[in-house]
């Protein structure tokens, strides 16, 4: 066995790689799912420890804070169900990000597409207010949401496919555009005549998504989200389209030579991604809020990106990560009540988890080996 070729040199690298230093980093040829999974688990462990450190620095009891977090998120049946309520939009935005990222299309516009979907659902509910039976109305509202999300995402994807614009920039900026479009709609044509605030009227009861129990807020949107995750998994794994998406993500040049129409593929992927985010928006509108407002997303589009990355872009992993993040959000109020630490701690934990997961992903690709002195 010959030694692997030396990687590019940097000062730190050279220092670590000094012949005779005794140890050195070496890139693995194959990381393997076990190591990748272990890396995520270790990263989450480190994040939790770091969060505990922050709590201690803030002068509160660490165990008390974690217990508060747990009690708030899973302590009772109600709180556990509420955790799933919080996870619901995050599953959808996480899936939306994961689909696009699988194709190496950086859709940062989940937030805007989420709003587009909510707006689409609301518009349909207004246009077809008298449509019965109710299930048919739901079909059209969700179709409207998916279409609106897909169309909004298509602005960026068509620009990318035709003009090769950078979709990171366009999708980020389209979030703001959507915000202002919505504020125009809510200030003018859609505003409730009873109020001067930027919101629609409360929607009719017939548009409310059914809830699983009478005493919790867990609505069918959660089931839709889980089904969507399974569907996305199936599409990515078992269909020609999924193969092309993964192929585009792995090597767009090869995809092109293979004969894939990359432009069409980009537009397709973004449309699916936007539609999923849009369905998430509709789920929140019809399941929880029943009134279109400017803040119904609460950053779900952005948290979804973190979730997709923590889940390593795996659709079923997205569900798990979304429930974990939902628990963080749901437990945060209890932590604040018990310890006085602001609920913003959760955003810090989210950010740290992402950083540690990314670091762990890199670290898992290397191993430390003992150098043989005879090497030089």
């Amino acid at each position: 066995m010959s030694a692997p070729p030396p990687p590019k040199q940097s000062p730190l690298w050279s220092m670590l790689m000094q012949p005779g230093a005794g140890w050195r980093f070496e890139r693995r040829l194959y990381t393997g799912p076990v190591r990748e999974f272990a890396a995520v688990i270790i990263a989450i462990g480190i994040s939790v420890a770091a969060a505990g450190l922050l709590v201690a620095v803030a002068g509160a009891g660490v165990l008390e804070a974690f217990r508060g977090m747990y009690e708030g998120a899973f302590g009772t049946r109600d709180s556990a169900l509420e955790t799933l309520v919080q996870a619901t939009p995050l599953i959808m935005t996480g899936l939306a990000a994961a689909i696009a990222f699988r194709a190496s299309i950086w859709n940062i516009g989940g937030e805007g597409q989420f709003y587009a979907g909510a707006a689409g659902a609301w518009w349909v509910s207004d246009l077809l207010a008298d449509l019965r039976p109710a299930p048919l109305l739901f079909v059209f509202m969700f179709l409207g949401a998916a279409l609106a999300g897909a169309l909004w995402a298509s602005i960026a994807s068509v620009l990318k496919a035709v003009f090769k614009t950078n979709e990171i920039l366009t999708t980020v900026m389209l979030n703001f555009v959507m915000f202002f479009v919505l504020s125009w709609l809510l200030a003018g044509p859609w505003r409730s005549p009873n109020t001067f605030y930027y919101q629609t009227e409360r929607m009719a009861d017939v548009t409310f998504l059914p809830r699983f129990t009478t005493d919790s807020r867990l609505h069918w949107g959660f089931a839709i989200a889980v089904l969507t995750a399974v569907l996305v998994y199936f599409i990515l794994r078992k269909t020609p389209l999924g193969y092309e998406i993964r192929g585009l993500g792995a090597n767009p040049v090869a995809s092109r030579y293979k004969g894939a129409n990359v432009g069409v593929l980009i537009i397709t992927v973004m449309a699916i991604s936007g539609a999923v985010a849009g369905l998430g928006g509709a789920g929140e509108l019809l399941g929880l809020h029943h009134r279109l407002q400017l803040d119904i997303a609460v950053g779900a589009g952005f948290t979804g990106i973190i979730i997709a990355l923590v889940a390593r872009l795996h659709p079923l992993g997205v569900v798990v990560a979304a429930v974990a993040f939902g628990a963080l959000i749901n437990g945060s109020t209890a932590v604040q009540v018990v310890t006085g630490i602001p609920a913003a701690l959760v955003q810090v934990i989210e950010g740290m988890t992402l950083v540690f997961v990314l670091l762990a992903a890199v670290a898992a690709r290397y191993r430390i080996v003992r150098t043989s002195v005879s090497h030089g």
Partner: protein
């Protein structure tokens, strides 16, 4: 190979995240001085507070823990003024109560129901204030916690009733008084205002401010700029600078950012809004100040009556709002730059408003 590529994909995805988070940070920060309302036509009767201990039996509560959730941060005047009110109550100890206050910032409306339910379920709080447009959220929770008193504030709300009280403040009367100062002190006869949105509760004080100026100076011209944001100091500053360039020498600062423009200009004076902002910059002459105390006291009285006399909660279906005569608003501190004759005129008008001789219209329409 596939694995390697996937990892690379994954790392690259991480790199774009910084941008995403930055965008998220920019996109946030919705502020919530969202008071937009029709004018008050009726007011619930004032229940005068007894600030001394009452002879309520030994079972009477001795403490009241208050939780307050905000859409934005506690420094914003809309929030800061009510927080000050609760803190004042904590010092005055009405009914001998130990009052504590926990404030939770940056609670989006969409998150309101979850947070309010969590706060109620914690069992720690006797009063939960959703200090903005949280009536939907409170409506979903209040009946499950019949002993807790819930409060929501400002416009955009729907009435809830029962144990959920709707409070508000209107400051068109002190704005009228500030207008008198502007009308008497302007040298260019051009006054201006920078404001958030053309909402009724924004227009109300602005119209009154101009009416006050006209009452002492019929030659007044005015210009108004709406910056279409609750919080955008840069745009507000630009707008004020443009107004000053166009000849305005009295600028009403409905929005943050005006003071910075005034501080950089020569011979321009300004007016604070909602909180007493005298001294924020030396050019502030006075402010239109909201005072939540009587509305808060009304709610506190209802809570006390419920717990000591068993009187059921029966929140009015209209907002609880007090005008200047009842202590719901007032003119703030007046700068030394304001001459004595102007002060006298302000004080006379203030007395006329309080004793009912002068009615200041709450004109919610566009400023003309």
């Amino acid at each position: 190979m596939d694995k390697l590529m996937k990892s690379r994909t994954f790392i690259a995805a991480g790199a774009v995240l910084a941008l995403a988070l930055a965008a998220g940070a920019c996109g946030g920060g919705e502020s919530a001085t969202t008071t937009t309302t029709p004018p008050p036509t009726t007011r619930p009767p004032t229940t005068q507070a007894e600030t001394t201990d009452t002879a309520a039996g030994s079972s009477a509560p001795t403490e009241m823990d208050v939780a307050m959730i905000l859409v934005s941060v506690q420094e914003e005047p809309w929030y800061a003024t009510l927080i000050d009110t609760v803190n004042r109550a904590a010092e005055l100890r009405p009914y001998g109560l130990d009052i504590t206050l926990d404030v939770l910032e940056n609670i989006a409306y969409a998150d309101g129901e979850r947070v309010i339910r969590d706060l109620a379920a914690s069992g720690k709080y006797e009063m939960i204030i959703g200090h903005s447009t949280y009536s939907d959220a409170i409506d979903a929770v209040n009946e499950d916690y019949p002993d807790i008193i819930f409060v929501f504030s400002g416009s955009g709300n729907d009435p809830v009733g029962g144990n959920a009280y709707w409070i508000d403040v209107f400051i068109h009367e002190p704005a009228y008084l500030a207008g008198i100062v502007a009308g008497m002190m302007t040298e260019t006869n051009h006054i201006s205002a920078v404001a958030a949105f053309p909402f009724p509760n924004v227009n109300g004080p602005l119209n009154a401010w101009i009416a006050g100026a006209r009452s002492v100076n019929p030659d007044i011209e005015h210009s108004i700029t709406y910056i279409e944001s609750w919080f955008d100091p840069a745009t507000a500053k630009e707008s004020a600078t443009a107004q000053i360039a166009a000849g305005a020498d009295m600028v009403y600062a409905e929005s943050f950012g005006v003071f910075e423009a005034v501080a950089e200009a020569e011979g321009v004076l300004t007016f604070g809004h909602f909180a007493d902002q005298l001294g924020f910059t030396p050019q502030v002459l006075t402010s239109s100040v909201a005072v939540w105390d009587p509305a808060f006291q009304t709610v506190l009285d209802a809570w006390w009556a419920y717990h000591t006399e068993g009187q059921p909660y029966d929140a009015p279906m209209e907002r609880i709002v007090y005008l200047m005569a009842d202590g719901g608003s007032d003119i703030g501190g007046i700068s030394d730059q304001v001459p004595g004759e102007v002060r006298v005129a302000v004080e006379e008008a203030r007395e006329q408003i309080i004793n009912g001789d002068l009615q200041v219209a709450f004109n919610e329409g566009p400023v003309e």
